[in-house]
């Protein structure tokens, strides 16, 4: 009896698979691979997208598949390996996506993906403990020249690490770098005054800065950020250091162009909707919409920059 039920189920699902070829796209739910844990900011970005996409597009259903681990590498590889049938897409985040390629660990290249577009970003920042004497980037450079400063970065090869390395070479200093496991440890080290400074992301520290528990001294982006309009960038302070984390959508390369076009358009439309923008605001996700070609160009540029850092000091 039991076996018969299963058999019937198996036959039914086979039938569905055959029907899929004939019928119009999509006939089954689309899997979104999220290369991080459920509940994190990348995961939330994906779920915000699916919520609105499912509501506005009839017949589209999404399933989120979290494949965390190895700084996203496991998930990126799963997207690259997925069957390009339009039923698997995924999220990527930088600079880890290109850092794995540069360090020779990745089982994929940028060519393994069709880049659909960027969604969110998080500017890199430099933050110091609240009672630190360091008030700006010049102070940081001077203090680092006088004495090796202990500076927390979130792991080797992360955006923080690359930003710190870039600052080291621009300012001609050398930090006593403290790699942590995750931004939580960085936050604890800054709030507890165990380190002299940290390279982090804006969303992780914006509340603490506002509450006076820590002091952000610079944004590492090309322009100021609307969430913290009074905060000068590092460039304004005379140091050309740029870093931001981005989170965008990709698909495995080789999907039928008609289907791909449909997906790309959907992403752009969802990102343009007011509802999506409102949800992003409540969920503290900073949007930075980029089209597929724009984001691909960004990724290629970032890979070249990362390669330069890696060649100087491999990790």
């Amino acid at each position: 009896m039991l076996k018969r039920t299963f058999l019937a189920g198996a036959i039914m699902s086979l039938g569905l698979a055959v029907g899929a070829v004939a019928a119009e796209y999509p006939t089954q739910s689309i899997t979104i691979i999220v290369p991080s844990k459920a509940g994190g900011s990348t995961d939330r970005t994906a779920r915000m997208f699916t919520e609105i996409a499912e509501k506005n597009y009839d017949g589209f259903e999404f399933v989120i598949n979290n494949i965390p681990g190895s700084g996203g590498q496991k998930g990126f590889e799963a997207i690259a390996r997925a069957k390009p049938d339009g039923y698997t897409i995924g999220l990527v985040f930088t600079p880890q996506l290109v850092a794995h390629i540069v360090s020779g660990r990745a089982g994929y290249t940028l060519d393994s993906f069709h880049v659909m577009g960027n969604t969110a970003q998080d500017p890199a920042i430099v933050v110091v403990p609240k009672d630190s004497a360091i008030m700006n980037m010049q102070d940081l450079a001077d203090a680092a020249k006088a004495d090796a400063l202990t500076v927390a970065v979130n792991g080797i090869g992360s955006d923080d690490f690359l930003a710190a390395k870039s600052f080291e070479s621009k300012a001609g200093v050398e930090f006593n770098l403290l790699p942590t496991k995750g931004s939580t440890e960085q936050k604890a080290a800054i709030l507890g005054g165990h380190v002299d400074a940290a390279f982090m992301n804006l969303s992780q520290m914006i509340k603490q800065h506002a509450a006076g528990d820590a002091r952000i001294i610079a944004l590492l982006t090309e322009e100021r950020d609307s969430h913290l309009p009074d905060m000068p960038t590092a460039q304004e302070q005379g140091f050309d250091v740029f870093m931001r984390a981005t989170r965008g959508f990709v698909a495995p390369a080789g999907i039928d162009p008609a289907i791909q076009e449909q997906l790309d358009t959907m992403l752009a439309e969802v990102m343009a909707s007011d509802e999506f923008k409102d949800n992003a605001m409540t969920g503290s996700i900073f949007l930075l919409p980029m089209s597929g070609p724009e984001y691909l160009a960004y990724l290629e540029g970032l890979q070249a920059e990362t390669q330069a850092v890696y060649d100087q000091a491999p990790w």
């Binding site: 509940g39 604890a188 080290a189 603490q208 409540t282 503290s284």
Partner: protein, 497 residues
């Protein structure tokens, strides 16, 4: 405050909390299902719920799961969470003596007291305590891991193979070294396998070393079924042992303090509480053979972590452990960024959430006490049907942690390798403790060395560190002295015979 109480005591809130808590107990009881996983997976689900109700649901799961882990630990020697390993050391022998009913009663009472006490501390002193916890840096984290590892000695000193327990603990720490070196980003001993880049997860190891070994041993027993004559006495209800309150209080305090500190709190808290309780007990010789005092301290300790871990999570956005980190995601998804805002702007959500934890503790107390006599009957289920069911959950649980079949093989491997070690007299509790605390010790040590610019002086510098060294010495010296005495007596005995 009354308006917050009114929110909690509405019918829908009470129902939500009860569902969450009961689900949490079930999740904690399954080998392989953890509170971290359940909360992580349900955070997106609460996205569409009313924020307060969503948080109450997750809080209930957290409280329930912390307690739930102790049920299979006591009845089947298969701890559902690493924090319940210490409970299994005392609980399973009690179960075999037909005292499972009492063990369950002690465990649920201690969990309740620990959970309630820590929630009270969270409610009253959160901002103040969080500031204090910040003084706790990497160097102190290293010492905390050492304190937890000192538990190895207390596991060992009764069955005389202290050296083997230490070897097992070090083996666990060495297995934990596999994976990415956080300091240089380079890979250590991964043999080119992508599955090993993040190291070996302790959950497949826990499932393999405890649940699966227990099932292999049951399967491989000659007699048709285990002797249940002792178990039939289970129905006899025993009163709570005298003097147990002291151990519950000790565990509650220790658990709350350790919960506030960063790191994988619950496991350390349970072992340190267990260790403390053994030091002050008047019945030391009964430890390892089914002493309810050990259960009381360990369970009060790991539930004490619940409230404790939320102190830095809510006030500073620094989660005290992985469940709290997942829970923090639920706050952020609703725009409630942890920090002072939670207690002002969002007070009408935060305070009901904290108050709901009291209810959650009450729910599992009632459920646990009501069902203890029935749960105790689980120990009577014939092994021939218990073994395949638990094994299937072990496979599923190992897979579901990281969606990786590799972890299933790892679980089976740990079971085989662990079974041989167990037969040779190596303590598997020590091994899992080493595996869990190894990375915490390594992180604290390496980061401490960097902050100290290469000088180990940093581990002795702060006042907290000095106090911790004294506690470590107190934990280590007395058992070592009694161990040496015993060795000398044995040697004298051998010579005179």
């Amino acid at each position: 405050m009354f308006e917050y109480l009114a929110i909690v005591f509405s019918l829908s809130s009470l129902l939500t909390i009860a569902i969450g808590t009961v689900a949490g107990v079930a999740i904690g009881g399954m080998p392989g299902l953890t509170a971290t996983m359940a909360v992580g997976l349900l955070v997106p689900f609460t996205y569409t719920m009313d924020p307060t109700a969503g948080l109450m649901l997750l809080g209930g799961i957290y409280c329930g799961a912390m307690y739930g882990g102790s049920i299979p630990a006591i009845l089947l020697n298969t701890p559902g969470t690493p924090a319940a390993v210490a409970t299994a050391i005392e609980g399973y022998p009690m179960s075999q003596q037909g005292r499972a009913g009492l063990a369950l009663k002690v465990s649920v009472t201690a969990s309740y007291v620990g959970g309630t006490f820590s929630t009270l501390i969270l409610l009253l002193f959160a901002p103040l305590l969080a500031r204090q916890a910040l003084a706790f840096g990497p160097a102190e984290t290293f010492l905390l891991a050492l304190m937890g590892l000192a538990g190895i000695i207390s596991i060992a000193d009764e069955n005389s193979s202290l050296i083997k327990a230490l070897i097992a603990g070090l083996l666990g720490m060495i297995i934990a070294v596999i994976g990415t070196d956080d300091m240089s980003g380079s890979l250590r001993y991964t043999m080119g396998m992508i599955e090993l880049i993040d190291g070996i997860d302790f959950m497949p190891a826990l499932i393999g070393l405890f649940s699966m070994i227990q099932m292999l041993e049951l399967a491989g027993m000659r007699q048709k079924s285990i002797d249940t004559s002792a178990l039939d006495k289970t129905q006899k209800s025993e009163p709570m042992p005298r003097g147990i309150a002291k151990h519950i209080a000790l565990g509650s305090g220790t658990g709350t303090v350790i919960g506030i500190l960063p790191g994988e709190g619950a496991t350390i808290a349970a072992f340190i509480s267990y260790n403390f309780s053994k030091r002050i007990s008047k019945m030391k010789e009964l430890f390892g053979k089914g002493n309810p005092e050990g259960i009381a301290a360990a369970e009060a300790g790991n539930n004490g972590c619940v409230g404790g871990s939320l102190v830095p999570t809510l006030t500073l956005g620094i989660p005290g452990n992985s469940v709290a980190a997942a829970l923090m995601g639920a706050f952020i998804i609703h725009g409630m960024i942890p920090g002072p805002d939670l207690f002002t702007e969002y007070a009408n959500r935060t305070y009901p959430f904290i108050l709901s934890l009291f209810v959650a503790n009450g729910v599992f107390l009632i459920v646990g006490l009501t069902f203890a006599p029935y749960l105790a009957r689980i120990a009577l289920i014939p092994p021939a049907i218990m073994v395949p069911v638990v094994s299937a959950f072990a496979v599923l649980g190992s897979y579901a942690l990281n969606n990786a079949v590799f972890d299933v093989y790892l679980m089976i491997g740990f079971a085989l390798f662990g079974l041989i070690l167990k037969k040779l007299g190596y303590s598997l509790e020590a091994l899992i403790l080493g595996l869990i605390l190894g990375p915490i010790a390594e992180g604290g040590f390496t980061q401490g060395m960097i902050i100290g610019k290469g000088s180990p002086w940093i581990f002795f510098e702060s006042n907290i560190a000095k106090v911790m060294w004294v506690i470590i010495a107190l934990l280590l010296v007395p058992p070592l002295i009694s161990y040496l005495k015993m060795v000398r007596q044995n040697a004298a005995g051998v010579r005179s015979s």
